[in-house]
């Protein structure tokens, strides 16, 4: 456990990369959207009818999807952090197991902390009527639209999932470089294709559709958590025999 903590500190020895980059990028995305919303006419659009142009309120409100940028950044941080710093850690007598556990623990801790900030920002967004311009930056319909604690939970799980996924890519690259990453992506596509063929073969599309329409955001979060555990196990199996 002590070693885990030291591995996490090792990743944070230059702290701005994992701590600030996600927010710097998110802030950039936020500002761009804010400017667009401030300039755009408010919540309605013009439809030309036989009686001339008529102003109609927008069916959906101002969803941007801009919050997705932080999830992508988590993937990249996971990928970048883990592959590059493995050799020096092994030089200092850290086992691969501890290195992996410490790195994953750091990713989960960052996800939980940043998930909380996202939930708080979403509360502010609601309280200020979309930052004064009716923009839903931190609210994503269905996925991140419930109470603040559910937003916290769902974003934490999703951020952790992407960090862990990124780590796995980093380890695959460390072991087999670009060729390995290509094979890794192809293998994942093959898994998806196999799933599609299986569903199609069993004529089960209706069932799959019902499953997803019946799924709540909380249920989906549970599903993502399960997937994260699966990816965590995959990364561990890959790092076990990695050499430097």
């Amino acid at each position: 456990m002590r070693t885990w903590r030291d591995v996490a500190r090792y990743h944070l020895v230059v702290p701005w990369a994992p701590l600030l980059i996600p927010w710097a990028i998110l802030a950039g995305s936020f500002l761009v959207n804010l400017v667009i919303f401030a300039l755009a006419p408010d919540g309605q659009h013009t439809v030309v009818t036989s009686h001339g142009p008529v102003s109609v309120p927008n069916a959906t409100s101002g969803y941007t999807g801009g919050v997705a940028s932080i999830y992508i950044v988590f993937l990249i941080i996971g990928l970048n952090l883990v592959g590059r710093s493995l050799p020096f850690a092994l030089s200092l007598g850290v086992s691969r197991r501890s290195y992996y556990a410490g790195s994953a623990a750091l990713g989960v801790a960052l996800a939980v902390a940043d998930g909380l900030v996202l939930a708080v920002l979403q509360l502010i967004e609601r309280a200020t009527d979309g930052w004064g311009v009716r923009m839903d930056f931190f609210r994503v319909p269905y996925f991140l639209a419930g109470p603040w604690y559910l937003t916290w939970l769902t974003s934490s799980v999703a951020l952790a999932l992407l960090f862990i996924y990124g780590m796995w890519f980093g380890i695959v690259y460390r072991r087999w470089s670009l060729f390995g990453v290509t094979a890794f992506v192809i293998a994942q596509l093959a898994v998806v294709l196999a799933g599609v063929l299986l569903v199609a073969g069993a004529n089960a599309w209706a069932g799959v559709g019902h499953f997803f329409t019946g799924l709540t955001a909380a249920g989906l979060t549970g599903l993502l958590a399960g997937l994260a555990l699966l990816l965590l196990a995959g990364g561990h199996a890959t790092i076990r025999r990695a050499t430097v």
Binding site: L90, S91, L92, G93, S95, R241
Partner: protein, 297 residues
């Protein structure tokens, strides 16, 4: 004396070549061992396996009585800084700070002194360091860690003669105060000879020779003089290398020479020159394996 490292029948096979071939080796704790051999002889592979960075194809490795691979109890007592060590994107002081967290006996004092000795700027990004500076950083980490098993792989690639001397002096001084097991692979054999207690020569993945450094100093002698006299003197002895220039011949005789031998050589007007460690290693590496085993026995 207890055994720090015990290797037996260690083989590491890569797709098309045998990096290590049935290597067996015992290293006593609290000693300085030189791992000598040519490029590609298998020195780095052996050290990587000892440090748990690489896995053996077969054979066993024990460090302090346990296999090091993924064994934190053993690994945490070791440090292994490589010639081609890669670091994350950070600065010299970050590398030292991180290293200090992993070693209970880390000496910040020694690290600072070494930084000053080598003129290593703490604020410089590691990837901006010259080759010599990178080597110096590895040396600082390896020494300041004060790990029970300290391994250096070609620690002074790119370092100038003054910096190398600093390394030898600091290593010996710190070793005297904090004895530990130090494994050092190197090409600069004669330079390092003064600090090595034991020498292991690896050649093409096999152990060519293991001996106490002191024992090796008189083990081979170059004998030169008129051909007939040399032939008379070397009759019945193991002879390694024979060179002829005009009527003079120079050969390397293996095995110690006693006082009677020296007197006889003098009366035959032969020149005797003991082989330096480096010459010995070069000679040893050129011999077929069975000759070597006879010598090291």
């Amino acid at each position: 004396m207890t055994t720090a490292i015990s290797v037996s029948g260690l083989t590491r096979r890569y797709r098309d070549h045998l990096a290590l071939d049935q290597v067996s080796l015992e290293v006593e704790s609290r000693s300085i061992i030189g791992l000598l051999g040519r490029n590609g002889a298998g020195k780095t592979t052996l050290l990587r396996i000892l440090a748990g960075q690489e896995f053996p194809s077969s054979g066993s490795v024990l460090v302090h009585g346990a296999a090091p691979a993924e064994n934190e109890a053993v690994l945490r007592r070791m440090v292994f800084v490589r010639e081609d060590q890669t670091y994350p994107d950070f600065r010299v002081r970050h590398a030292l700070r991180v290293a200090s967290w992993f070693y209970p006996h880390w000496s910040a004092e020694l690290a600072d002194a070494l930084l000053a000795d080598f003129g290593l700027p703490a604020g410089r990004p590691v990837k901006k360091l010259s080759r010599g500076m990178r080597s110096a950083l590895g040396i600082v980490i390896g020494l300041a860690a004060r790990a029970e098993v300290t391994m250096f792989d070609e620690p002074y690639a790119g370092l100038d003669a003054v910096a190398r001397q600093i390394f030898y002096d600091r290593l010996l001084a710190d070793y005297a105060e904090h004895p530990r097991t130090i494994l050092l692979s190197t090409h600069l054999i004669d330079e390092a000879a003064g600090l090595l207690e034991r020498v292991v020569v690896i050649d093409r993945g096999r152990i060519a020779l293991t001996a106490d450094a002191d024992d090796l100093r008189g083990v081979a002698t170059a004998v030169s003089g008129p051909m007939l006299a040399v032939d008379e003197f070397t009759a019945g002895r193991v002879v390694w290398d024979r060179r002829r220039v005009a009527s003079r011949v120079s050969v390397v005789v293996v095995g110690g020479l006693d006082e009677a031998d020296r007197l006889r050589a003098g009366s035959l007007h032969l020149d005797l020159t003991p082989l330096t460690l480096q010459q010995l290693v070069v000679q040893a590496a050129a011999q077929p394996a069975d000759t070597l085993e006879r010598t090291s026995a």
